[in-house]
Symmetry: C2
Subunit: 233 residues, 2 copies
């Protein structure tokens, strides 16, 4: 990032975020003001803002006019999963490696999720996870919606670990491979049967987490992800 004209803008924003002068929810000045303040062109300001938007640090209000400044946000997994997916596309990053890393992290997250004692947060997350499971039970549910609910179910379980970095990396790795899964599924001989097996595995994970069985929750997550990716490879 060092040799870009907009580096001065990005470095200043980072400094202000770290000092607390700028926080999530705050609005940046408009493009014209930023251009004057940092002595760079409006085109360079726009480029810098687009980069911050791409990594999930500004909301989509970017570039909506000279007056309406963008709002600071923090959506790391959306941005990181997109970046990871692009790198997977370059093939310098094998899908198997991504899955292996996801298994390790998601196993740990399930272990911690089963041991989570925050009952209120826990109950709400388990309720949401169960609602996704029920939706996935419907054989008439579209594949796209099934994959969506599947990702959400995994996300709810991982988020119970209480570790935001763990949750973000897991979600990024998962989202980064979704398109590979979507491409592979139509090639399977018995996708309807596979969906039923996946659901049995999801229920098993859910029950172990709910019952607080840490080792079992971890084992079941690992078996589930590994089984599915061996199948579609």
């Amino acid at each position: 990032m060092k040799d870009r004209t907009y580096t001065v803008l990005i470095e200043s924003i980072e400094k202000k975020l770290r000092s607390g002068e700028l926080a999530v929810g705050d609005r940046l000045p408009g493009e014209r003001t930023l251009a004057e303040k940092y002595g760079i062109s409006r085109a360079s300001v726009r480029e810098g803002l687009q980069v911050l938007n791409a990594v999930g640090l500004l909301n989509s209000g970017v570039g909506s006019g000279p007056k309406a400044g963008a709002i600071v946000t923090s959506e790391p997994s959306k941005a990181l999963s997109w970046a990871l997916r692009m790198h997977i596309a370059t093939r310098s990053f094998p899908v198997a490696d991504v899955v292996g890393t996801r298994v390790l992290l998601e196993g740990q997250a399930a272990f911690e999720a089963a041991g989570c004692t925050d009952t209120e947060k826990r109950a709400a997350a388990l309720e949401r996870a169960e609602a996704y499971l029920q939706e996935m039970d419907d054989p008439a549910l579209s594949d796209a919606r099934f994959h969506f609910c599947d990702a959400k179910f995994h996300y709810e379980i991982s988020s119970l670990s209480g570790n935001l970095a763990l949750e973000t990396v897991i979600d990024s790795l998962h989202l980064a491979t979704v398109s590979y899964v979507e491409e592979a599924v139509p090639r399977l001989d018995d996708w309807a049967g596979v969906r039923r097996t996946l659901q049995e595995q999801h229920r098993g994970i859910f029950e172990a987490v709910k019952a607080g069985e840490q080792e079992r929750a971890q084992e079941r997550v690992i078996t589930h992800i590994t089984w599915f990716h061996d199948l579609i490879r």
Copy 2:
């Protein structure tokens, strides 16, 4: 990324990367050609290219003129660590969570590194790791260089795991917290003593990996990272 004018450009590049039509090392057409091809303005093309550059998918030749197109590259950890660091700055992403995740992954990588049987790659990586250790032994070495060698030592050990996704995520998480370490170190009472302890720990990790002691390598990495971050917190 859906509502950007340059989305059409980025999606097309992703598709071409996945089909193999475009590969790392290839040169993209110049800005003018891309603008015509995708029916978007040159400013939008530049924004799209800057975004790809920011996530480590294009080299720094971006925007060097209408003729000289950017070169496709794949440097995920540089880009991801930058994005993670920005999210840590927003405080919606605690440093402790990042460290916890790094401990988990780097422990596993050390375990796998100790079990690695590729003797040629292994010997070369261990040699590089040892050279960094020797450099860090010098009490006169600057702090900046010490941190650099430290990161490189950890990187060499993790890379022996043979899992690129694991290696990239570890490196990203590590680099994302470097500035926090650099800020914390001058506040320590006995940094010279801490440096000696860190070096003893590094040697211990190195010896366990070299001797193929998987559990010991894993334990030592976990103890090392946890000890240091508890100290600077």
